[in-house]
């Protein structure tokens, strides 16, 4: 609805580095604190006049807090709260706008809700808590919303002309909800399925399963992702699933169903073709979470099947840190490894939809 207008506003808050006030004396809990670890349920919100997040005004933070408070009242998961903040970022830059746009001159408020009866009165649409409550109720009414990509889930409610409009606001929304939450829900690893986040370290679930070299190429050596256990491709596909919010079976992205044309994603050598066939972007610049793709023979990769790894960190000296499986000679083969590599060594970097560059 207000996709034009909000872009300029959000430019102000791009790439915030987070900074917390350390004064906790004035903390007011909107909801009782929950146990800190592995809590993927509703996040409780800290309303703290001293809490600051770099790059955001206190008005924007109050509005984000109102959205999270509404989510808490409706028992909305952390994932749902991040979706709600993401949509408000994409619609209004977290400001209660008293103005619409070309496509919707009657759009108002944080969520740019139309004056069509579905979103209540003018006062309702201009009230942060009420407008957020109405958005969240509609979100919960979308069948299977938790399994959709966040931007698609948000757009089932908003009906924007571009269903992918909200995608680029996801990282900011994750950081904001994390900063404003007092239950430190885990964004790492497999505890909470928060799209856009990778795992940390050797959290590959099948690190003790047999390789096909040990038990033969059969079901005993095949993971539920459809690759052989402890091969580079099984680890990389695990990371892809994690980053897309899929952290346990049934996984979203499988060897057999990744490509839309019925071909398997296969060994590393065909991963670039798999990305092309799926319409996912690739390029020569490492981004955290992207797949580093080595064509057969490139940079020391197997001359027949190639190699894939995952970008763990990007350095400012033309190199990056990659993590993966089966990157060392025996006896350290088929285990987790990290190493620093020049950006020019892999044949390409294969990006995930969550890694789109912000325009």
């Amino acid at each position: 609805m207000s996709q034009r207008k909000s872009l300029g506003l959000v430019a102000l808050v791009a790439v915030p580095s987070l900074f917390f006030g350390l004064v906790f004396s004035m903390i007011l809990l909107l909801a009782p604190a929950k146990p800190a670890a592995a809590d993927c349920g509703p996040v409780s919100v800290v309303v703290d006049g001293n809490r600051k997040v770099d790059g955001y005004t206190s008005e924007q933070l109050q509005n984000a807090t109102a959205i999270m408070g509404a989510g808490r009242s409706l028992n909305l998961s952390a994932n749902g709260q991040i979706i709600s903040v993401m949509v408000a970022l994409g619609e209004s830059g977290l400001r209660v706008l008293d103005v619409g746009d070309g496509a919707g001159p009657d759009s108002r408020g944080l969520f740019q809700q139309r004056d069509n009866g579905a979103w209540g009165s003018y006062a309702d649409r201009m009230d942060p808590t009420t407008s957020a409550t109405n958005f969240i109720k509609a979100l919960k009414g979308v069948a299977g919303w938790e399994l959709l990509e966040p931007t698609i889930a948000g757009n089932k409610v908003q009906r924007n002309a571009d269903p992918y409009h909200y995608q680029k606001y996801w990282p900011e929304a994750v950081e904001l909800v994390q900063a404003l939450s007092n239950s430190k829900f885990s964004l790492q690893g497999s505890d909470c399925a928060i799209p856009g986040r990778s795992g940390a370290g050797d959290d590959y679930p099948w690190k003790n399963s047999p390789t096909w070299l040990q038990v033969g190429a059969n079901t005993a050596s095949t993971s539920s992702l459809g690759m052989y256990y402890r091969e580079c491709v099984d680890f990389a596909l695990w990371r892809v699933n994690q980053q897309m919010g899929s952290t346990k079976a049934p996984f979203k992205f499988l060897n057999g169903s990744f490509r839309p044309d019925g071909q398997g994603l296969g060994s590393a050598l065909t991963w670039k073709a798999g990305w092309d066939a799926k319409g996912w972007d690739s390029g020569r610049t490492p981004r955290v979470g992207a797949v580093a793709w080595y064509a057969p023979g490139a940079g020391g990769a197997d001359p027949s099947f190639g190699h894939v790894a995952v970008v763990k960190d990007v350095k400012d000296n033309g190199s990056y840190v990659e993590e993966g499986y089966n990157g060392n000679p025996a006896p350290e083969d088929h285990t987790y490894y990290t190493r620093t590599v020049a950006n020019t060594v892999p044949s390409a970097f294969l990006y995930l939809p969550t890694q789109e560059e912000k325009k």
Partner: protein, 171 residues
């Protein structure tokens, strides 16, 4: 009969020829230095990494003039059907779906056409072809509301181009 035996022999050879090179893993992040020249062993000599027959590396689709012409036609036709904000949403979605991938059909099903600023296509599509990628291409399609970027995908040389995404101009 001959072929499987050869393959088996190769597989056995691979299994038995476990890395002999004195490759060592490159130092990790502590050094901060690129170590591209260090010997590495990336999935070396361990055979196929996934079940199923091995797809040849040359599975890619090559470009020709017919591919380009068809991609331009589909991009322009899809954009023409997209840029109709006055259309009822059911008919709009059904008409547009003819040009879309299954993924896009699902993703665009919730769009309210009344929110679309474009009302007409104002010129021919321009393709940005990556010769190494015959599966997909981006087409720039001019409209009264600026130039949209239309992503097209196909599943094979003779499969029709389908639109996966119509991205509005950046503001």
């Amino acid at each position: 009969m001959k072929k499987p035996l050869t393959l088996l022999a190769v597989a056995l050879l691979c299994v038995s020829c476990a890395p002999v090179a004195n490759t060592t893993s490159a130092p990790t992040e502590s050094t901060g230095q690129p170590t591209a020249s260090a010997p590495v062993s990336l999935s070396a000599n361990s055979g196929p990494q996934a079940p199923g027959r091995t797809v040849p590396a040359t599975i890619g689709i090559t470009w020709d003039q017919a591919s380009r012409d068809e991609a331009m036609d589909v991009a322009e036709n899809a954009m023409t059907d997209f840029a109709r904000p006055a259309m009822g949403d059911m008919q709009w979605a059904n008409d547009l779906a003819r040009w879309l991938t299954p993924q896009a059909t699902a993703d665009y099903s919730a769009v309210d056409p009344a929110n679309i600023p474009a009302r007409r296509v104002t010129g021919p599509a321009t393709l940005s072809v990556d010769e190494a990628n015959g599966f997909g291409v981006m087409a720039a399609v001019p409209t009264n509301a600026g130039t949209y970027t239309v992503q097209l995908l196909r599943t094979g040389k003779d499969a029709p181009w389908k639109v996966n995404r119509l991205t509005p101009p950046a503001s």
